[in-house]
């Protein structure tokens, strides 16, 4: 049984380390703002930040794959803090991370993968667009005690109550969009409707979010408390706590373009050309965005209070030889404590609402200066804001380079950059709001980058 308990720890660690892996993966692939792309309205994929954006002078555009990554972790935790080279292999090592963690830690991650999209300029200054993208968005809030317990065991935390309840709001969905933009003189207005088809989701229940472990300083009696519930669609099939295991049975995560978990969202944007030099823009994205998860949707709930005092037996039986002095671990009942009851149940997740404000000043044909602001609102999480100023230099017709200084909640000194290449009809770009992190993602606590390619005619 002791073996099993050790295995429990390992399994537990292993399973949750997958979640932590995802968390740090998100650091690697995301950022908490996306100002740089927004400052490049002539880049086709910037239309994802404002449906009123449409490259001037282009009649037909074929957007090829592009990826936008945005992630941040509170504190100063980077990929390399967790994934450590050990000879020719990479191992997971929490020893350096734990000391860097705050009491409560947050990780945000957003990933947008443009698969394909089209843009057509029609007569009458009407622009149509349609596209298909994959999106992943999530936030994890976890206490420091969770990795501490998983990594160090409960031995170093005797006398402490370790609250290990993890909050998660993660969703992965497809986005089918159709948009229309119309130019009214200096004003362009764009709207975009989106059909969302959910791929997978994990959402903890804010009413059942507590789980704690207390190890008594007396003889290490364990007090376990759990009132923990979460919704899952197509991620976790079952949690097997039998035989002291803690085995998460993951669902088959084959991505399908369509599913019965559907929702809708709307983007609206405008661009106002004040004069030949000054342009203003504003957009709100994912208005009313939510997905109803009613296929393969389940609710998992674990509730129990349990104190394990070890074996108790009358001393008389021991000294009389009737019973044995037992050192066994009677922890079978953990199965009953942590047992998650699974019940089918549909639920709804609200997706984060985003918005942009921007303005640009064209000093010359080679120099453009701009300001951009970005906000995100997610239910149950703090709103995030970012603002930045940019300069863009186009030394050649097919090349532009740019830089941006931006401020957000976690960092007052983000130096971004972009490169746009336009060899012929090809448009290739790379942009990041934090160039230092973009090229050292494994050593950075926050990362933002965007890259893509398109054909424009």
């Amino acid at each position: 049984m002791f073996n099993q308990h050790i295995l429990l720890k390992i399994n537990f660690l292993g399973r949750y380390s997958l979640a932590l892996l995802a968390l740090f993966c998100s650091i690697r692939i995301s950022a908490q703002q996306e100002l740089m792309l927004h400052a490049l309205p002539d880049v086709w994929h910037s239309t994802s930040t404002n449906p009123a954006f449409f490259p001037e002078g282009k009649k037909f555009i074929l957007g090829l794959p592009g990826i936008g990554l945005d992630g941040a972790h509170s504190g100063d935790v980077s990929y390399r803090d967790v994934f450590v080279k050990d000879g020719d292999r990479t191992v997971i090592d929490f020893s350096k991370v734990i000391s860097k963690l705050d009491f409560t830690n947050e990780a945000h991650f957003d990933q947008r993968t443009e698969i394909i999209n089209l843009g057509i300029r029609l007569p009458g200054k009407i622009m149509l667009q349609a596209g298909y993208a994959n999106r992943l968005s999530g936030v994890l809030v976890y206490p420091k005690a969770l990795p501490e317990l998983l990594w160090n065991g409960n031995g170093p935390y005797i006398g402490e109550t370790l609250n290990i309840g993890l909050k998660a709001d993660v969703a992965d969905w497809n986005e089918w969009s159709v948009g229309l933009a119309k130019q009214f003189g200096p004003l362009s207005i764009g709207v975009r409707g989106k059909l969302l088809t959910g791929v997978s989701s994990l959402l903890t229940d804010p009413n059942h979010i507590s789980a704690s472990v207390y190890t008594s300083p007396d003889i290490y009696q364990l007090s376990l408390h759990t009132d923990y519930g979460f919704h899952s669609a197509s991620i976790i099939e079952a949690i097997d706590t039998s035989n002291l295991g803690f085995d998460l049975k993951l669902a088959d995560l084959k991505r399908k373009a369509f599913s019965k978990n559907t929702g809708t969202a709307f983007d609206i944007g405008l661009k106002f050309k004040v004069n030949e030099r000054i342009t203003l823009d504003a957009s709100v994205l994912d208005l009313g965005a939510k997905i109803n998860w009613d296929t393969k949707a389940n609710y998992f709930l674990s509730q129990g209070d349990y104190t394990y005092d070890g074996q108790t037996f009358p001393g008389t039986d021991i000294i009389n030889g009737i019973d044995s002095l037992g050192f066994d671990l009677a922890l079978d009942t953990l199965n009953d404590i942590f047992k998650f009851n699974k019940t089918p149940g549909e639920y709804t997740t609200k997706l984060p609402l985003r918005g942009y404000l921007g303005g640009s000043f064209m000093l010359s044909k080679k120099w453009i200066f701009g300001v951009s602001a970005y906000f995100t609102h997610r239910d149950g999480a703090k709103n995030t804001f970012a603002i930045g100023g940019s300069a863009r230099w186009s030394p050649m017709k097919w090349l532009s380079l740019g830089a941006m200084y931006s401020v957000n909640r976690r960092n007052a000194a983000n130096l971004g950059m972009h490169v746009v290449l336009k060899p012929g009809p090809v448009q290739v770009y790379f942009a990041s709001d934090n160039i230092l992190n973009a090229f050292s993602v494994k050593n950075s606590p926050a990362v933002n980058l965007r890259a893509g390619i398109a054909l424009m005619f």
Partner: protein, 532 residues
Amino acid sequence: MFSKPIFRFSLLLVLGVAAWQGCKKSDFENAALGDHTAEFAFPLFTTDVKLKDLLLNILNDTLSGDTIFINPDNTMTLFYSGDVAEKPATDIFKFLESGIVPLSSDTVVNPIQAPNGVSITQATLKGGEISFIFSNPTMDTIKGNFGIPEMTLNGVGFNHPFLLAPGEQNKVFGPFNMNGYELNSASYTITFAYAAYLPNGTKIKIPLQPNGFPNAFVVFLNLKFKYVQGYWGYQLYELTRDTIEIDINQTDLRGDIKIKSPKVTMRVRNSWGFPTRGIIKYLSFIGQNGEELQLTGTAFQNDGTNDYADFDYPSYIAGEVGQEKITDFVLDETNSNIADIFNLQPVRLVYEIDGVSNALLDPDLIGFMTDESVLGLQMRVQLLLEGSAKNFGAEQTLNLDFGEFGSLDSANIESVEFKLVTENGTPVDIDAQIYFWDAAGNTVDSLFDGGGQKIMNAAPISAIGTADGTTRTETFITMTAARFDKIRTTKTAVLKAYFTTAQGGTVPVKLLADNTAVVKMGIKVRKRLTGG
């Protein structure tokens, strides 16, 4: 001419590298958990031991007569008792039971058959039979009756008719049930008489046989007496010889233990209706090395040869027939050398006692006995568990069950640390060592290096020596994996404990029945975890 394409290509390459750097599937997909050490802490067991239970076990209580008595104030008294030696009076004093009385004349007066020194004046029978056997040597019919004038039933004398035909031989009359008959004879004699008549009314004595034997007999068979009264003279008889084991001093280990007030009590329960004296032929403790430790004192009297004690008895004169008298002879520190003897931790008490009736040779003594008169004698050693002890040793074999620990793959265990916690509500310190035995009884290891450790500190004591609260003692036992490997496969542990009463055994304490010690243990295991 080639600079432009090369530059464009270079920029594309940079972008590609940057994108790959940011987006590639990392090697973490195959990452294993880094080797590290984690520490797990679990409780193992909790048990509580009441002092009463512990003492009973330590004392190796195999004698059924040994008892711990819980006094009203929760103090405990330990009794070691010898067998109760019971002597029914009827075992020693046997009266006429069966026999034949030839009647050579028509009236025969015999002394009542009784043990030496006893003369019966009154008795009540509860069973048995009497018969008369007559032969008629004449040619006439003989008619008559026979009787025992000292015996009456409800005021009517024992008298029965008989009729003998001419020449009739060995005709039996009876048997007559004697249950309920009373015998009264101030002269300690019993009379058998018959009256025989010929048909013409002539009273005759039945002629003797030619060889001189009589033709009339009285046969009594299995007469049983419910009550006998008379004179009891001096008579000596054996009462008991027995041995009492003093288990408290028979553990394998030794130490200094002082019992504050040891007592030996001889209790006599007597329903014999005459004075009996117990002659103390032998009363000694046997020491640790077999030496005799004679118990002497003023509790008994001495006749110049032996100590003796006169037992109380129910008095005929006082109308105490059927009663039982109890006499306790107590030898304690005030009237004997028992305290000194117990400081030497004797292992057993041996005693031999005889009885003497009417030791004072009272010629006017009227005594009695009934069919239920018993003299019971029991020796008892009484130890109030109040005293002091220094390193008093006890040994206990415990069964071990390491459960899953027994089959644990300990390859990655770095060390274990047991935490032993005691919460002691007894006024006793305990130093202990545990020896772990393999199946063959060989010592594999011990719990503590370098001898036992104090695992339990005595509770604070009050002014009267009782435990007043609890004392918590924590002991940490760290083991290497190799040592733990050896121990966890054992199935038997031998606990050797040394008890010292509070304050180093310098003051007497009272051990109360409800004094409880809680013993509990947890474990920390440091284990190397590898991701493979």
